[in-house]
Symmetry: C2
Subunit: 268 residues, 2 copies
């Protein structure tokens, strides 16, 4: 049996809904969809998105109005759901939600974006520090219970030179700082998670999942791969296909990010 998972940063779900997200959702073959940057209370969303027919939805809006916000949609009813990862600072910031499906925990993550030299970069670093501890916990718990874990979302870090178009020009920019890249390496090497899309496509540049709205970034494919599906090794081995659903044109986009979709040959 196959299980298809998509993650996408929608950059404002109300705006995305008007531009094409609803059509995308109606057409997708995914079994689980992880959303980031919902930027709305569920009550502010049209009903067909708040409670889509055939889906179970978990909404984790931020306390601050119009900011962040993650969600998970799954065709199966989750066994359990959880908002936040046990952080006093970040649990009401709309950056983490998880659901348990049979044998599998799926997370929707929106890691803070930073800006070098500002408080926002310090916040990003605090999040990274706390979140790595949680990832280790999650891995341990999963090993004990025999579950797999899949952390989907916008991690706001490109790992390697192949993960963004102009890596040289961006080495001092938040999102490709040496310390951020090293942190992701720890996620893989110390915590033992696997970058699923990179594992399937070891040699491709990208595939990018985010293009700035500024300038001609999209048309030039001057993008970044910052949206990941990060899995425990047992699940990563089941991944049989991955693709980025890049829009056909600038105007066909409904977000500055594109959906990242992976097909798993699941045991459950």
């Amino acid at each position: 049996m196959l299980r298809v998972v998509t993650t996408v940063n929608v950059n404002g779900l109300r705006a995305a809904a008007k531009k094409g997200f609803s059509a995308w959702l109606a057409a997708t073959e995914a079994d689980v969809v992880c959303l980031q940057e919902v930027r709305a209370e569920p009550e502010q969303l049209p009903a067909e998105i708040r409670e889509p027919e055939g889906w179970h939805a978990v909404w984790a809006p931020a306390a601050a109005k119009g900011r962040a916000g993650v969600a998970l949609l799954s065709r199966q009813r989750p066994e359990r759901q959880r908002i936040g990862f046990g952080s006093a600072e970040f649990d009401t910031s709309g950056r983490y939600a998880e659901i348990d499906l049979p044998g599998l925990t799926v997370v929707s993550l929106y890691l803070p974006s930073g800006e070098v030299g500002t408080e926002r970069q310090e916040e990003k670093e605090r999040f990274m520090k706390e979140f790595l501890v949680h990832l280790l916990d999650l891995r341990t718990q999963a090993a004990v219970t025999g579950r797999e874990v899949l952390v989907c979302g916008d991690w706001n870090i490109a790992h390697r030179e192949a993960d963004l178009k102009n890596w040289r020009a961006n080495q001092k920019l938040s999102g490709f700082l040496p310390e951020e890249r090293a942190w992701l390496t720890r996620v893989f090497d110390e915590a033992g998670y696997v970058d699923v899309v990179r594992r399937l496509h070891p040699d491709t540049p990208g595939p990018y999942s985010w293009w700035s709205y500024r300038g001609k970034a999209f048309d030039n494919d001057s993008g970044w791969r910052i949206d990941y599906q990060i899995a425990t090794p047992g699940l990563a081995e089941q991944a049989v296909g991955a693709r980025v659903e890049r829009a056909a044109s600038y105007d066909a986009r409904w977000s500055d990010h594109a959906p990242v979709t992976v097909t798993y040959a699941a045991q459950a």
Copy 2:
């Protein structure tokens, strides 16, 4: 010789420019156009509006960005121009500018809108008090120099029951309060100015010049007459025609106000 004067609150000239103001300006037969709620610095405007060919422009933006702002466009070069009416509180608020043409002073006025029970209503009242003194001054100066005066603009007050659709329901609303109506009466009776459009159309309901964007106000013609041309008696007697340039449909509008145009059989 005829002289045509238009006054219109554009509700954001940058937005209006995109929606049809530019076309309107290119087509108008007015010799003088008074604008209110420009809501932009002249530098933020497209050149064909900032310095329209064949026109002389006077811009009086507010110190607060994106607020108020009045302007005057005239085909003739003004002999003199003035921004503000000598008020410490209001001279940088983008609510008053005047030009002198031969034998005639034209004012573009944007009287503050209020809200009962708030500081904004007190501000409106302070403006009214100061402005009436200025109107008396202006009248006296004009009499001495033998000039006529025309005060065009958004006065944010409907004078009589005929000046708005549902006067009963609006008696406690700012814009139709007894004290505001009484103040306008003083402008006419004590200061000796004449409501030119009402003089030409003594019995018509309206003609309204503002319709809320909310609900079906425009389609139901549920409007207010709050944009006036208020003239010294000698000029008022020369008025030979007046009309409100109401848009053909809701979608054809480029402001929530419509231009109020008067044709004067001028001596000069």
